[in-house]
Symmetry: C2
Subunit: 166 residues, 2 copies
């Protein structure tokens, strides 16, 4: 069987970073990837470990990956698997590799006691939306994502408020 899905290791840093850059290019933001190998090791394998990654190999050659973390649902009281990235190289699509990765992560979620498997998709990415819908997923467009990044976050943290009053 030509497909193998395995956990990523410390040695996969360059490989995973390369695939992250390919995915960011597809998502039209190639210049947004500033992550380094050191970040990969720190947050994937160090004492501050946050994420887990998987690699898909076809005939022994890496062709895709996933990267996930765990959220906690205050309603279910259980973890939720949050899929940050899932990617298969264009030349290897149409063989069921994306589906195999997606189902594999669902199994990881169930093994870890998750009640929910969640992710976000760009609104113009219709092939992915169709794929997720075919897998039994539903969108929750009533929940709007919000964020504060970079310097705006540091400015917010520096705001004084009633806690800082004498």
């Amino acid at each position: 069987m030509p497909l193998c899905i395995r956990r990523a290791t410390e040695k996969d840093g360059e490989l995973i970073l390369g695939l992250i850059r390919e995915l960011a290019t597809y998502e039209r933001e190639p210049e947004s990837v500033v992550a380094t190998i050191e970040d990969y090791l720190t947050y994937g394998f160090g004492p501050q470990k946050l994420f887990e990654a998987h690699v898909a190999e076809w005939d022994g050659k890496p062709v895709g990956f996933t990267l996930h973390v765990y959220l906690y649902s205050t309603w279910t009281g259980k973890p939720s698997l949050y899929l940050e990235d899932i990617y298969v190289q264009p030349a290897h699509r149409g063989r069921g590799i994306g589906k195999a990765l997606f189902v594999h992560l669902a199994r990881v979620a169930v093994e870890r006691g998750c009640e929910r498997y969640q992710w976000q998709v760009l609104d113009w990415n219709q092939p992915s939306i169709d794929f997720y819908s075919s897998m039994g997923a539903r969108s929750t467009p009533e929940w709007i994502p919000f964020r504060i990044d970079g310097q705006a976050l540091r400015d917010l943290a520096a705001k004084t408020g009633i806690l800082d009053e004498a």
Copy 2:
């Protein structure tokens, strides 16, 4: 100064669960909260620790809370603070407690090396949307949340695919 924000401890289980139920009632899904004290202890303080929570006290009495986890951004290579819940009891609003909690979590994010502070808000919750906008946040409506829950997740995990073929 009547306001204090402190890290939640093992002893705050009943308190936090009560506030989670109040927030779910406000979000029109009170029956969705099935989390238990055991879940609180397991995922807040045990070896499977996932979340951190904070309690806001006014004149020594608990009046609000936050609960957060950490995501990993494959683009920045840094953690993102994901705010799962922020809540102030209605009788105590208008004193800046929500703002103090929100800014406090921004400081936690910066201390932990996060490049991003993120959360989701229900699309009909205009008071919260206005509050977040006034804090310098921006919505990213181009990212649509998707999920698979409960039995549908277990059904997906049980699907066979090319990996399971002999």
